[in-house]
């Protein structure tokens, strides 16, 4: 049982934002999401990077990859679709050219990674293991990319396949592996359970939802690959539901929540649903300092609501109170007749 809501507000300085994610301790629960923060540097022009708890990098593969044809993005109601194509510098160049900068900034570095096939995943985990002690905290294994060709789908949607893949990657590195799950499944709990049993240190929830938009004038999709991934506030209710489902079924499994977080209140919803920390994705495009605004708003909101620590509200949401039992025998009262014309 969680504590009932407090009523008294707290002074801001009484709010302790620190939070744990499995073995990690973070200064606060706000990280930047993969693919929405590149490798961090660009943001230094606009904000103090060190105020962020951490970031998940653009997805890294064993070799560098070029991206997809254009158009790669389009906006939809309260969301956007992307099909970037997992363009990245490759594991080697990442370790050499990008990691030192992030490590110097003192952020918790989560390296989002993938392979083009089973062996590619394992190879990538092995290559990135070299970053242990040099700044990498977590390997975030993306088994949810809609844009990989063969095998990609099964990694993210068939529990047994995900289990095998996770197990192999866990064996290939001593870094903690957090598996990023796709929402494009009937049963996200089965997926979370499969990867948890294979040794995942936690799960990231959710990646984008496969989606499409059409330009009725050209009669073509708005995204060159026809389908892309939907992100932004549009998907927040789906993300929250999945975080809550997984947390309820597997309360010990650390969850990093994401999907449409734009405000401190959004972040708190995810935490109350069961996330130990959250990532801010698409919001970074609207304004480069978005993640720090989420942090500041979360801080202020926790103070207002009298929440002293993050831990006390992780997964605290309780069912709606039951209604007064129905008494069918009671005579129906008269209607307020006057109003009916």
């Amino acid at each position: 049982m969680s504590a009932p809501p407090r009523t008294a507000a707290l002074p801001r300085e009484r709010v302790d934002l620190r939070c744990g994610f499995g073995p990690l301790t973070l200064p606060h629960p706000i990280l930047a999401a993969s693919g929405c923060f590149a490798y961090g540097q660009q943001f230094a022009d606009f904000m103090d990077l060190r105020r962020l708890a951490g970031l998940s990098t653009k997805g890294i593969s064993p070799k560098p990859r070029f991206g997809n044809p254009l158009p790669r993005i389009c906006e939809t109601a309260s969301g956007m679709i992307n099909s970037i194509g997992l363009e990245n510098v490759g594991a080697e160049a990442f370790l050499r050219d990008k990691l030192p900068y992030l490590s110097a900034a003192g952020l918790s570095v989560w390296v989002n990674f993938f392979g083009e096939d089973f062996d590619g995943y394992v190879e990538c985990a092995r290559l990135l293991d070299a970053g242990r002690g040099h700044g990498i905290d977590v390997l975030e294994m993306n088994i949810s990319c809609p844009n990989i060709k063969k095998g990609g789908i099964e990694f993210g949607t068939v529990p047994e396949v995900a289990h095998r893949l996770t197990k192999a990657c866990v064996a290939a590195t001593s870094l903690p592996i957090v598996v990023k799950l796709t929402p494009n499944v009937s049963d996200v709990v089965a997926m979370a359970q499969a990867v948890a049993e294979a040794g995942a240190a936690g799960v990231s929830l959710i990646n984008t939802i496969t989606a499409m938009a059409i330009d009725v004038r050209t009669r073509r999709p708005r995204i060159a690959t026809t389908y892309g991934g939907l992100s932004g506030p549009a998907i927040k209710p789906v993300a929250l539901r999945m975080v809550h489902q997984v947390h309820r079924a597997l309360p010990q499994l650390p969850i990093c929540g994401m999907g449409g977080i734009l405000s401190g209140e959004d972040a708190l919803e995810f935490i109350m649903a069961g996330a130990s920390c959250v990532q801010v994705g698409t919001a970074n495009f609207a304004r480069p300092d978005a993640s720090l605004r989420v942090l500041d708003e979360l801080h202020a909101l926790m103070a207002e609501l009298g929440i002293a620590t993050v831990a006390e509200v992780v997964g605290c949401v309780q069912p709606i109170e039951p209604e007064t039992p129905w008494n069918p025998a009671a005579a129906s009262a008269p209607d307020a007749e006057a109003g009916k014309r």
């Binding site: 109601a77 069918p328 009671a330 008269p334 006057a338 109003g339 014309r341």
Partner: protein, 265 residues
């Protein structure tokens, strides 16, 4: 019969305490004969982020089509509405729902209002005064402080007895409005006078009014607020838990005014 029409904002009057009255012009006759407690669904050019219209009790309406609502910035929709400029237009559906029982049927009607719950009771009073039943009404009006009590001068002008209560004691009795209401109900019992309660306001206030009415066995009519999507009986979102043959009735079509005993709280 309810219809759908466009209305233009004519004036946006600030009352203090964050309350505003929005006055609209609209095609003549659309809200003729609106019963106090009936409401309209209003939606501005809100794009796709805010999908659903919002419900507002009619504060007054004129045969020439003008009408007004009273509100306060509360969430996303009302925040946009208080910032509206004359000339802006809204889509209106209404009048909707069933209102309060008419005044002057032999009982003294004790109107119990709080916050944005004032409009239907204000209209009840206006209608009663116009029909010569002003003496058969009394207002009990509660708020957190002085700023929460608006449009009091109208009641004064109409010669309606008003008792206020504020949580900070700045106007009237200190505490909740149910304190003076209880006194009044007990007095009515002692006098053997027929009274009924008509109430609209925040749900905690309505719950307290209901408890009091049940305790003292007085008929009370509560004007409820539920989340609404459509306002005209099709989404079934606005269920109100009730006793009787069915466990739920609908705020928008069966209500928003319900008899207190029937409400399953």
């Amino acid at each position: 019969m309810p219809t759908q029409f466009e209305a233009q904002l004519v004036a946006n009057r600030t009352l203090g305490g964050g309350y505003v009255v929005l006055e609209f012009s609209a095609p003549a006759g659309r809200l003729d004969g609106v019963v106090p407690g009936q409401f309209v669904m209003l939606r501005g050019a809100w794009g796709r982020e805010l999908l659903n219209p919002r419900a507002f009790s009619v504060l007054w309406s004129e045969p020439d089509g003008r009408f007004a609502v009273m509100l306060k910035a509360y969430g996303r929709g009302t925040t946009r509405m208080v910032a509206m400029q004359p000339g802006d237009s809204m889509t209106v559906t209404g009048p909707l729902g069933r209102g309060f029982p008419p005044p002057g049927q032999g009982s003294v009607q004790l109107l119990v209002a709080g916050g944005v719950g004032l409009p239907p009771l204000h209209l009840q009073a206006r209608v009663a005064v116009q029909a010569g039943h002003g003496r058969a009404l009394e207002l009990f009006y509660g708020g957190r402080n002085r700023d929460d009590l608006v449009l009091l001068d109208d009641f004064e002008r109409w010669g309606i007895a008003v008792q206020c209560a504020t949580e900070d004691g700045s106007v009237g009795a200190r505490g909740f409005v149910t304190v003076p209401l209880r006194e009044r109900l007990l007095q009515a019992r002692r006098d053997g006078a027929r009274v009924e309660v008509l109430s609209c306001g925040p749900t905690p206030m309505l719950r307290a009014v209901r408890a009091l009415a049940l305790e003292l066995d007085v008929t009370a009519w509560l004007c409820l607020e539920e989340e609404m999507a459509c306002g005209f009986g099709v989404c079934l979102g606005c269920a109100v838990p009730v006793h009787g043959e069915r466990p739920y009735r609908y705020c928008c079509t069966d209500g928003p005014v319900f008899e207190a005993r029937q409400v399953r709280w």
